[in-house]
Symmetry: C2
Subunit: 205 residues, 2 copies
């Protein structure tokens, strides 16, 4: 290995880059050699952007989405509907829902899902802070938007049980399960199809 790289600086860069998810040493070397061929400015920009991001980003005090201020731009926006809170697993889910352009409420980022197998209990997630937000009042509806896995179901059930006890008047909803838009029926799995029949909606023209 020592012989492979004629430079420890290159060796360090390759080792570092191969810590990125899905990046092996071959890809890391390709990244490094690419950066060596480009102007120094480009490597400096990339390196500094990584450092600045990691050190500059904090999490929104209210919804735990990534933010540079105490409140994230969504929580701080006067144009958002504060009475609706969409509960999601992570910050990427916030981006995905924001990209639909169809949601105008606030979020609550759990930071993961309850998973006894992985040793992740409710205390390690932002569930108590969700209960606290609801207890403060002003929230009419909580949308559980956490995917369709076993962990998501467990988490949803836990949150539902907790909130329905502490806030009996709160409307608790979840994302509709059904046939994907554009999908043919024969490629829809049976569990989804069963739920889409049970949850059928009035025909709209």
């Amino acid at each position: 290995m020592e012989q492979e790289f004629s430079s420890t600086l290159l060796e360090n860069a390759v080792t570092s880059l191969s810590r990125l998810p899905g990046v092996g040493r071959k890809t890391a070397l390709r990244f490094a050699l690419h950066l060596l061929r480009r102007p120094a400015e480009e490597a400096n920009t990339i390196g500094q952007a990584i450092i600045d991001m990691r050190n500059g980003i904090r999490y929104c005090r209210l919804c735990h989405n990534i933010s540079e201020e105490e409140l994230c731009p969504i929580c701080a926006s006067p144009r958002r509907q504060p009475s609706t809170v969409c509960v999601v697993e992570n910050v990427k889910d916030v981006m995905i829902i924001e990209n639909t352009g169809q949601y105008f409420g606030l979020y609550h980022v759990l930071g993961g899902l309850i998973s006894p197998v992985d040793g992740i209990g409710p205390d390690m997630l932002e569930i108590a802070s969700l209960a606290a937000r609801v207890a403060e009042g002003g929230i009419d509806e909580v949308i559980l938007a956490t995917g369709a896995t076993v962990e998501a179901d467990t988490t949803n059930f836990y949150i539902y049980r907790m909130l329905s006890r502490t806030a009996p008047d709160l409307k608790i909803t979840q994302l509709a399960r059904g046939v994907s838009v554009g999908n043919e029926l024969e490629y829809t799995d049976e569990a989804t199809l069963a739920r889409s029949i049970a949850g059928r909606t009035p025909f709209e023209i």
Copy 2:
């Protein structure tokens, strides 16, 4: 897009990371979110390693391989055979040949291949410096090890013609072309097979 990221620091990191070869915005976002989940130290290490590599690495005065000193570890090594010079396209080829553990001479990194289509002429490559090294004396053999493409053939021919004029006693060789080790004959292309017949070698037990 502005709405997609609730942080310009994240936006900058994603834009920067997506400049890496083969990395789109989705992958760049995955890298960024991964780094946000990991300790700050890790992002700092990666960022700094990129910057240090780009600013600390220079090229060997003699062979133009990457190096941290004026001479790369290969050129500086007393255990290498200085009378043989292996001409390669780029620094990665040096690593590939070093990994075989079967070559003990020096290198000469061209920094590319002659390619009129891409506007790359001999003047943009380290060809004159190769002629100068040969002219200084002490080199018995130059191995042309530049792959088997049209650009490689053009470059080899150019170097051959130049060196055979300026150094008529120099031995100029090229990598053997033939059936890959472990490959069945039926998967070997005809051009390679033809060359392996023309270049057949005495049978060795």
